[in-house]
Symmetry: C2
Subunit: 344 residues, 2 copies
Amino acid sequence: MVAISDVAARAGVSTATVSRHLRGQLVRSAEAIEAAIAELDYTPSSVARSLKSGVKYAVAMVVPDVTNPFFASVVKGAETASRRAQYNVFLYNTDEDPAREQKIIRAVVHNVDGIILAPTTEHDEAPAIARKAGVPLVFIDRTIATDAGDGVDTVLVDNTGGAAAAARHLIDLGHRRIAVIAGPLDTTPGRERYEGVLGECRRRRVPIPEQYRRMSDFREDGGYQQMLALLALETPPTCVISCNNSMTVGALKALADMRVSVPEELSLVGFDDLDLAPLLSPPLTVVRRDAVAQGSLAMRLLLKRLEGETGKARSITLDTSLTVRGSCAPPPADGRPARRKAQR
Amino acid sequence: MVAISDVAARAGVSTATVSRHLRGQLVRSAEAIEAAIAELDYTPSSVARSLKSGVKYAVAMVVPDVTNPFFASVVKGAETASRRAQYNVFLYNTDEDPAREQKIIRAVVHNVDGIILAPTTEHDEAPAIARKAGVPLVFIDRTIATDAGDGVDTVLVDNTGGAAAAARHLIDLGHRRIAVIAGPLDTTPGRERYEGVLGECRRRRVPIPEQYRRMSDFREDGGYQQMLALLALETPPTCVISCNNSMTVGALKALADMRVSVPEELSLVGFDDLDLAPLLSPPLTVVRRDAVAQGSLAMRLLLKRLEGETGKARSITLDTSLTVRGSCAPPPADGRPARRKAQR
DNA sequence: TTGAAAGCGCTAACAC
DNA sequence: GTGTTAGCGCTTTCAA
């Protein structure tokens, strides 16, 4: 490995001078130093630099699963935004496991300058750990309930509004038997979307009975099982709101397996868009948001803090929008929709 | 920040003893040291450790785009596999830009212990850079043509076989006018899949005319445009093989926009599966491969090298399999399929 | 403007 | 088993 001392020797100056030149200061021997650097193909060791300065030029992104297109886009946005400031992005998947998340945060907190985290639960210990280590933390997509989250910059979306818009759309179409497949309620988007649906339905006097409130886990299989359960009900709903993309995929598979035709027999709205959603038959109506922008914004907030910005934490809420495609229609006239036996 | 010297002072021993204890050696004062560590909430600085040992416990994953579900899965597999050895994964997107890729590799090569790369082109300079720096490199999904790639472990899939299987399937169904939407030919999967299709067709005496060979770029819009071009031909093909998932999405959109019914008027096979592929109507027939396994295998090869394994480079080729769903049928009888005017 | 030298936190000889 | 010490590559006083 070629070190700064090699360059200094070759250029006939001290290491201090080379270091100064590297930091952009004017030095007499700039040319000789440049020549030496080029000949030796020297790159400063960021490790040594970090040891001295404390800056690591690294940020950790901790998300449930990059394989989820939403988080893939978030990561993409954050990574792209990190380049301007020459930061590097460590990626970690928690698989929605709070224990794993804590382990990651603890291990990482001393090795990065900042952390972007989609917390697994709303009673998350990451803020305490990060604060103790003096490492800036930004929440993305989810916050935590307690005031342990005070002082943490946050980028959310208007889950409540998006979910309410989905409910409104269905109510306006004439639906009165509305079901919701909800994500974990100890999670910001899980809770807010659920409450968004419930709130809108309450406001419009279309109560959602207990059996239409299906608690699930943001996973494909959860969506599949809950849709199956809904279809097996004595009086099934005429429409369903699925609260994230993975569960929506599961719900769609259940619908396909049970040969339920959408939207004739059952209407469906998903939260979060999917690449192929417009190509399904019918094209899927969804609540959309700009995931790349969310990631990029989170990174920008973090970089501001790393540049020394102080002041109280900011919480930014991005808009969502209902994209109406073809998966919703008025409820079937006979009032006995969607009940089927399984087929092989 | 609390350093090893603080722990040593508190435990009444030297820093060397604390260091030994940390590395697992038996020391008399283990208990006192543990107590001090706990009270001070001490974590060893990985930066200092790296400076000393040269090991950074970091690996760079350089892929075209995490937003592509294939690469998202590769990254997931690699990240999961990295945990066993306590390595951390830096993520970079090249956006298929060779200049950006080079810049990333150069910047990263001295700050990581190893690199996993899906090279942008087949004449890639990464191996030279990595070799000069003495950093192990693993190619994933793509190799390079020249022997500059000698000494680089590689994890590929049987692109040729997969593409040939797709062609065979179509020929067996009776198709004689087969078109292919190819990826960049200076890319391993681009070239191999293209040649796989061509080779099988040649073997079966079903030549593919020039106008049915559509060169594209692995991007959605490329697939869209090329499908449009095919449909506009005087004599359009009766079936199309699309050589990656993004282009397949574009092709499907073109088909939808032009109201071409699949598979009645045109059959379609995609390379790489998509989450919703089974839910399309018709469900999409694709060539599949295990992306998570690919990523995990690449990381395992890399970790072996980092553990000191020597010996010549290994090149592993994973299987692909044709998943027949519903998007292929015998060609239309009238022999004049798929030609349409655009509709709004 | 420049060089000498100290030191960031940790590890590995080396001597005890 | 343990302490002393040197040094990884770099930055940054402090003098000159």
